[in-house]
């Protein structure tokens, strides 16, 4: 993947397609921490199984990122190729302020004492690769809204059909 292509891409989640299978969660933890523990996964697929809702939550790589602003030692840096916010483990002092300010709960603390968050797998996110329902997509942020837009249009077309009787 060329630099130009990956720049400005994001992992966009589609809760209506998520089945709550935890494949992304288990694989993410295994890849980055060499063990399976959802607590260390950079992505979470929250299950409300009694209600039948599954909601993937992950780092949005914010433009004005609260984690980056709050960090007292500027340990969270923007990756120049992927645009991901990366924790510089050498600089990080483990104050955990980023965990508190992240509006998505996308930053976590491992048992061996380290701040971890999504690094977009250097531009080839494993979670997206493994998701067989396309509940996760890695697309340019400028096109992230398209899928939802089409779904909304589909709903309108159904309503129109009902009204016009076609």
């Amino acid at each position: 993947m060329s630099e130009g292509e990956s720049l400005g891409k994001m992992v966009v989640v589609d809760p209506s397609s998520c089945t709550g299978c935890q494949l992304c969660v288990a694989a993410c933890s295994l890849k980055h921490e060499a063990q399976v523990n959802p607590l260390y996964s950079r992505i979470r697929a929250v299950r409300f199984e009694g209600k039948g809702a599954y909601i993937p939550v992950t780092c949005q790589q914010c433009k004005d990122a609260p984690c980056q602003s709050v960090c007292p030692v500027k340990a969270i840096e923007r990756h120049e190729k992927t645009g991901a916010l990366i924790v510089n483990q050498e600089k990080c002092i483990g104050c955990k302020a980023c965990i508190i300010v992240c509006p998505f709960g996308a930053i976590s603390w491992t048992a061996d004492g380290k701040i971890v968050k999504c690094d977009l797998c250097d531009g080839d996110p494993l979670c997206v690769k493994l998701c067989t329902r396309e509940a996760l997509a890695y697309v340019p942020a400028t096109t992230a809204h398209l899928k939802t837009q089409v779904k909304a249009a589909e709903k309108f077309s159904e309503i129109l059909k009902k009204i016009s009787g076609v």
Partner: protein, 643 residues
Amino acid sequence: MPTALESKIAYIDLSKKKVNVKTTPREWVKRLLGGRGISALILYGLLKPEVDPLSPENVLVVSIGLTAGIPLPSARVNIGAKSPLTGALGSSNCGGHFAPEMRRAGFDHLVIVGKAEEPTYLWISDGNIEFRKAAQLWGLDTVEAQEAIKDEVGDHSAQSLVIGPAGENLVRYANVRTGVKSSAGRTGMGAVMGSKNLKAVTVRGSRDIEFAYPDKVLDLCIRFNENLRKTRFFTVMQVYGTMHIFSYTNTAGIVRVKNSQSNQLFPSDNIEAEAVRPYSVGHEGCYGCPIQCRHRYIVESSRYGLIYDEGPEYTSQGCWGSMMAINSTECMLVCNHLVNRLGLDTLETGSMIAWAIEIFEKGLIDEKTTDGMILRWGSPETVYELIEKIAYRKGFGAILAEGPKRAVEKLGSATAYYNMNVKGMSWLQTEDRAIPSFVLGVCVSTRGADHLRSRPAIDLFGLPKEFLEKLYGAPMTSDYTSYEGKERMVWGNELEYAVIDSLGLCKFACSHFITPHSIYTDTFNSYQELSELVYYVTGLEITGEQLKTCGERIYTLERMFNLREGFTRKDDYPPQRYFDEPLPSGLPIVRGKRMDRRKYEKLLDAYYTLHGWDSNGVPKAETLRKLGLTEEEVKALVGEVFE
């Protein structure tokens, strides 16, 4: 240290409210792997023969597979006990999200004995086991109970195995459930929980699951995912789930209709897989699964109001559709919902109701027995009412709740011929008398009539002989109505499924359970590949050949359990109807077929020989020695943990 190698067994005495925790012996893992295999050892070792399955003396084993937690379909949890339905081995497994959570909570195996004084549930979190009152949960349905427990423990990620009203009321085929849909359905494990006053087992953990070679486990996960997507099996399962099988089997004439009077239902458009799509609101995936074969569905205005549920599977499609001669999507979805919520095994419930309707039709029972109900085919109302009567043991329901053996005793020996069961467990919703391999597998299954111990669905595809020979290691015919070589097919699958179950893997992810397509995925289709998986997960070098021996050991141990309870060759036969009545309908290859007793006897002999059992189906002394299952060896193995 790989988590699977330092796993813990908790011995939980509900009467004394005491817990004793031990480490799982390495020998157990090497010989029996986990889940179903280790469960069989514990039951054989701890249970004395002739124990009443609903007494405090029965032992309930909750055991997860050896590979639980990997990012693959690895989340099967096995529930074992002596079965209150059959008196033989009780053993049933289900998927969902329970198994990895139990491993993170610090345990791989729970051995539950005694009986709690009052309704109780077990709260197991990060190595602690707490006995909690469950009076407030008693009476709740299976999903309500789980939601209430989550609220109570204050953690919505907690996972529970629960029983519904059917388990509380000791219906002999009550199941154990987790999530909205996952059910350890067969052999009445829910009734055993109910008899122990145990409403639920809830687990939550934050521990790491570690592997010997994590990078290799991840590689395997990625490779499996990529390969699986290339198959048509994957696409079909993702959209339709197991319901896709029905259109083929109904067309061929291998589904049970009106109990077992016919083998095709037309029209059937409303119970085909496509009919469920308008009700579907997406799918649901078990832990780590890229297939996610279950529908989530909503019926907006049923007689029970708006219902939300998951499923149905091929089995429920048959039970609540073709078997009852009901061509109604809504009936199928509502019945699926009822048995799920009440905690009933869909198959046993369906089969008992179908039997009741047939014996009513034949005049062997009348309204005096059925509380005034007129039982007839094609009537959703009859079925709804009977399901509820069974779950709450009301009137006629109390008789049906007893399962085949006891219900036949109550309603008279003339009704026995129409009850389709083996070892006291009902035949599945399929009509198999044209397919000897299927019949043999169901009849010799170690837990009563059941296809999940061996079903060689691959037999139906008419694959080239050379291909089958390569797969099973000996020549056999491609004709599914033939008896030739089918003992090897069943035997081969039995060993393989015993290994898959004990590793905690889903059969849909492995091998040739449903379709030859999966063979081309190059993943988990041979003992060699499973051996690699075991090595990456645990670091134990168990060769493919040794794994196959594990399968033989597990299967033989289960057989030994049943022999000790008095089950022998005489219990390995299909119902008499299979020999007497030719199939009335179906494709030319199927129509007119019935089982040939002489050929079946020969098939059974050949099958026992492959296992190293004698002509009564008893393992020979040399077989026991080869498998390390002599009386002394089993005693020593079990004695390592339980004095």
